[in-house]
């Protein structure tokens, strides 16, 4: 087996037809060939004996030497001795003169020497000793076997005959030389070609060729009959023997032109036999002249005509084959160019039909029985039949596990290496499984080409014959590899298109399933694609009431809506533009559409499209339900906060009564004092004036208490304003002062020097501080009166934020509950809902701050909260 090269056919032994091994063992073959040589030698000798113009000793043709030469040309030198030895008994049997005589044996030696010299000379001059299909090979044969070998061997031959028979040396040499020359010339090509190509010709030649061959065989006999008649009746024919012979030339030329060296050789042989036969029976043109001279003339004539004719036949054969090969290549290349053109710009849906059609065309062109295209599935690790063609009457390809049934072949395909065999016998021992599979399927020869594209094996192309065996010459394999490349590229293209299509399908499915309207914009803001939802909502009013679909300008629609007075449209346009030009990485807004209350809430978001061409994706979602839920939740929160404020106030009733009683007491006392002063004579006007002034102050004070109360209990939406945290803390402390008094609690304030300003909702922040204060006071119910003290501190932090601490001296928090206290419904009190601190937390978080509680080192706990400082607006 040849060394296996990458991307070349891994050649299996005995690929050449000429060296086709039969099923028989080699030893039997050699013995058979030897017997065949012996029989041929014997027959050749018997025939040679007959081909004599009696009484001349020398035959016109002496076949044994030529038979030996042909045998040696067709075999390897190390086996020559077998055939030479096999010829010896035939020589002894075939020649009565040689029996038991040293002369006969010596003649055998000279015969062998001629064959040996011819074989060695031809072998040294040509690359293929058994072939005469080029001018060079034919010339080598003529020089080595037709000229040199007879020339050299005839010296020994002549010496033998002269020595034993006493015939004149040079006369013998001359007759032997010409006789052997003519024999080699006419017999060797005929024998060799018959052995190497005979069977093939008989099997495959068309009827026309067969008829032509019969014609060629018949014509010389017809011509010769005519010549015979002409010789008898015309003196012109008798005058020169060349004239009748010349009449045989057309048949010889015909053979040379139409049947190659083999046919020419056979034709020459026929002519010689014809002439010699008629000559030896005293007929024909040579019968009139002296016999010896006549034979010589005949030999010279035939040799002189035969050599150029054989050369001509070789030239024509060579030309014809070259032309045939060229034509075949042209046809194949035309097929190939049509093939490669066929898959260019072919839409994916037309590819299946194209593959099927081209498998058929290839199969028909190459005369195959089945062509199958397998695709290699990476997921399954298996080759699957993708496309297949079978010749009419041939069973379709059976679907089996390729990996299981071709364990030797598959790895080679995966290594991108073609694998072929002309006969099952060529498969090596490792491929036992393959041989069994092929045999079961009736495959006689097979060629598998890997389909490689982009460095990946995509599949394999299998060419199969089932009716007969077939050779896979290198050139054909190379061409089929080109076919494989075209198929591989088409497959890769199809795979890519399929992948693209499936990703398109997936994309559309995703887009279609979205509950939002989605539009894809190019970088100019033009809509290039929308999903169903967008298209639907576009019909129902779309974005800002503008119906905008594919090819419409989204920016234009925004602009138009802005001109129509939709305030968010302008914002949307500016935001979208910023996303499109890359100055923003995203943009979103929510807006209400339609009448307030009954209308819908919509969210618009724009994200950039990451790609070379830019663009953006706009999604438009109906968030009415979410918005309603949000508003509902906010309302609930507010109601809850209000409810807790009201209930907090309930807790403070006693304290509030005290708060109001003070001014009322003052007012009443003052007023009654005034009445008394008025009764005095004279009334003290100055005193009364002072009293009235105090009454006014007290009244205002009472009014303030009620105002504070009302504000605190106000039910309403959050309203941000700038608040001084110190003022706020003082106000709240006023609310609880009376309560603190009742509970014997001191409230100490330790406030930041400059009142930090926060942006917050006043009521919420008051509620926050109040809840924490009440919580601190509540914590001290059980403790000694001297410890009942609450400290409220405010200070600025770095962040910048305001940090408020409310420190009590109560029982402190149970360890591990520092975070739990802020959970809703967490309470340690017998009364109360456990909402106070939870509301405190929600208020702090709504203001972007944080709240936490820690136990103090000595006693009690401290609650902390922070609220970011209001950003001072640059005015």
């Amino acid at each position: 087996m040849e060394a296996v090269k990458s991307r070349r056919l891994s050649l299996l032994p005995g690929r050449q037809v000429t060296a086709r091994p039969s099923a028989l063992p080699p030893a039997v073959q050699i013995v058979g060939a030897a017997v065949l040589v012996a029989v041929a030698y014997y027959l050749g000798a018997r025939i040679g004996e007959q081909l004599r113009f009696l009484p001349v000793t020398t035959s016109v043709l002496w076949p044994p030497n030529a038979i030996l030469t042909a045998a040696l040309l067709l075999t390897r030198p190390r086996r020559w001795w077998i055939y030479l030895l096999a010829a010896l008994p035939a020589h002894v049997l075939g020649l009565p003169a040689a029996r038991a005589s040293s002369f006969g044996l010596a003649l055998f030696v000279t015969n062998c020497s001629e064959a040996l010299i011819a074989a060695i000379a031809v072998r040294s001059l040509t690359d293929a000793p058994g072939r005469f299909d080029t001018l060079r090979r034919m010339a080598a044969f003529i020089i080595g076997a037709v000229l040199v070998a007879p020339f050299v061997s005839s010296f020994a031959d002549a010496a033998l005959v002269a020595g034993f028979k006493g015939e004149p040396y040079w006369l013998v040499w001359r007759t032997r030389f010409f006789s052997n020359m003519l024999t080699e010339l006419t017999l060797v090509p005929a024998i060799v070609v018959a052995i190497t190509h005979g069977r093939q010709w008989l099997q495959h030649a068309s009827l026309r060729r067969r008829l032509e061959a019969v014609g060629l065989a018949v014509v010389p006999f017809g011509m010769w009959t005519l010549v015979m008649l002409a010789v008898e009746h015309s003196s012109a024919f008798r005058a020169s023997p060349g004239v009748p012979l010349a009449l045989l030339l057309p048949a010889l030329s015909w053979a040379a032109v139409r049947f190659g060296p083999g046919g020419t050789s056979v034709s020459l042989l026929t002519t010689v036999l014809l002439v010699v036969w008629s000559g030896s029976h005293g007929n024909g043109p040579f019968s009139t002249i002296q016999l010896a001279e006549g034979v010589l003339a005949l030999q010279i004539f035939l040799t002189a005509v035969g050599i150029p004719l054989l050369l001509l036949a070789a030239v024509i054969d060579e030309r014809q084959r070259a032309q045939q090969a060229l034509q075949e290549r042209l046809r194949f290349e035309e097929l190939l160019s049509r093939l490669s053109g066929a898959f260019v710009h072919l839409p994916a849906h037309a590819m299946d039909a194209a593959f099927e059609s081209w498998l058929r065309q290839l199969g028909e062109f190459l005369g195959l029985d089945r062509v199958t295209l397998y695709r290699f599935s990476r997921e399954l690790g298996e080759f699957l039949v993708a496309y297949a063609w079978s010749a009419p009457g041939v069973a379709p390809v059976s679907r089996v596990s390729v990996i299981r049934d071709f364990p030797w072949l598959v790895p080679q395909i995966l290594r991108e290496q073609p694998v072929g065999f002309s006969r099952l016998e060529e498969l090596p021992a490792e491929a036992m499984r393959e041989a069994e599979t092929f045999r079961r399927r009736g495959v006689r020869s097979n060629l598998a080409i890997p389909l490689v594209a982009g460095g990946r094996v995509l599949g394999s192309l299998a060419f199969v014959t089932v009716a007969s065996e077939r050779d896979w010459p290198d050139e054909l394999v190379q061409r089929l590899q080109l076919v494989g490349e075209v198929f591989a590229n088409a497959l890769a293209q199809k795979e890519a298109e399929d992948a693209l299509r499936s990703s398109e399908v997936m994309k559309s499915a995703i887009l279609a399933s979205l509950a939002s309207g989605v539009a894809v914009l190019d970088r100019h803001g033009r809509i290039v694609e929308v999903n169903d939802h967008w298209a639907r909502s576009a019909r129902e009013g779309g974005v800002f009431g503008a119906e905008v679909g594919v090819d419409g300008s989204f920016l234009g629609a925004c602009w138009k809506a802005a001109l129509d007075g939709v305030p968010v449209a302008r914002e949307a346009m500016i935001g979208t533009e910023a996303v499109l030009n890359g100055s923003r990485t995203g943009f979103a807004l929510e807006y209400a559409s339609g009448s307030p209350g009954a209308g819908r809430w919509l969210a618009l978001s724009v994200v950039p499209l990451k790609g070379p061409d830019g663009g953006a994706v706009v999604s438009h979602t109906d968030v009415t339900e979410r918005k309603h839920a949000e508003m509902e939740a906010q309302r609930s929160r507010q109601e809850l906060a209000h409810f807790t404020r009201v209930s907090t106030m309930g807790e403070l009733t006693a304290s509030l009564a005290h708060e109001l009683n003070q001014p009322l007491t003052g007012i009443l006392a003052n007023a009654q004092a005034a009445q008394r002063f008025l009764d005095a004579r004279p009334p003290d006007i100055g005193e009364i004036r002072a009293i009235l002034s105090d009454i006014v102050d007290d009244d205002k004070r009472a009014g303030e208490v009620i105002q504070r109360l009302r504000e605190f209990l106000r039910k309403g939406e959050a309203e941000l304003s700038l608040l001084d945290i110190n003022v706020l803390v003082r106000d709240v402390v006023k609310l609880v002062t009376s309560d603190a008094l009742i509970r014997n609690i001191t409230i100490r304030l330790d406030l930041a020097a400059e009142g930090p300003t926060v942006s917050a909702d006043r009521v919420q922040l008051q509620q926050l501080v109040l809840n924490l204060l009440l919580n601190a006071m509540e914590a001290m119910t059980e403790c000694d009166r001297e410890h009942r003290r609450v400290v409220v501190r405010t200070r600025l932090t770095e962040s910048p934020a305001v940090h408020v601490e409310i420190e009590d001296a109560g029982s402190g928090l149970r360890s591990g509950t520092e975070d739990l206290v802020f959970e809703p419904f967490y309470t340690t009190k017998h009364s109360g809902m456990g909402m106070g601190l939870s509301i405190a937390r929600s208020i702090v978080e709504a203001h972007g701050g944080a709240i936490w509680a820690v136990n103090n080192a000595s006693r009690g706990s401290t609650f902390h909260f922070t609220v970011p400082l209001a950003r001072v607006k640059a005015s």
């Binding site: 006693a654 304290s655 009564a657 005290h658 708060e659 009683n661 003070q662 001014p663 009322l664 007491t665 003052g666 007012i667 009443l668 006392a669 003052n670 009654q672 004092a673 005034a674 008394r676 002063f677 005095a680 005193e687 009293i691 105090d694 102050d697 007290d698 004070r701 009376s738 008094l741 009742i742 014997n744 001191t746």
Partner: protein, 134 residues
């Protein structure tokens, strides 16, 4: 001589005027501590005392006075009095217990009662002194 102790200035001033219009001599104090520091030990014959005050409250002051043997008749005034508190005050010898806001007549009656009680106390003390002195 009537002393008024209340943390609320406007209440103090109103009461001072009312009592003055009725012909009493009035001194006012903002807290129990102030009263204890500044008062003329001999003079007061009636104490108008607020119960709820920062620091020492009215009841504490009354008890402190009783403990030190100075039995000045006390008229309590309070913004949010309850029954246990009134009982406790009366047991400790208070003359009256008035809920703010109160009518001038109520207060003046209570103050008169207190002064009478104070006078009676002085009359009963004098013979005892004599007995003691004899």
């Amino acid at each position: 001589m009537v002393c008024v102790v209340d943390d609320d200035m406007s209440v103090r001033r109103g009461l001072e005027r009312l009592l003055r219009s009725a012909g009493y001599l009035v001194t006012t104090f903002g807290s129990a501590r102030e009263f204890l520091d500044r008062r003329d030990p001999a003079s007061p014959r009636c104490l108008v005392l607020d119960i709820r005050m920062p620091g020492q409250n009215g009841l504490d002051l009354q008890q402190a006075l009783v403990a030190s043997g100075q039995e000045i008749p006390v008229v309590f005034i309070t913004g949010n009095g309850d029954i246990p508190m009134a009982v406790r005050a009366m047991k400790a010898g208070a003359v009256d217990f008035l809920a703010k806001p109160f009518d001038d007549k109520e207060l003046l009656d209570a103050v008169r009662e207190a002064i009478d009680r104070s006078d009676r106390a002085r009359q009963s003390v004098a013979p005892r002194r004599q007995i003691a002195g004899s």
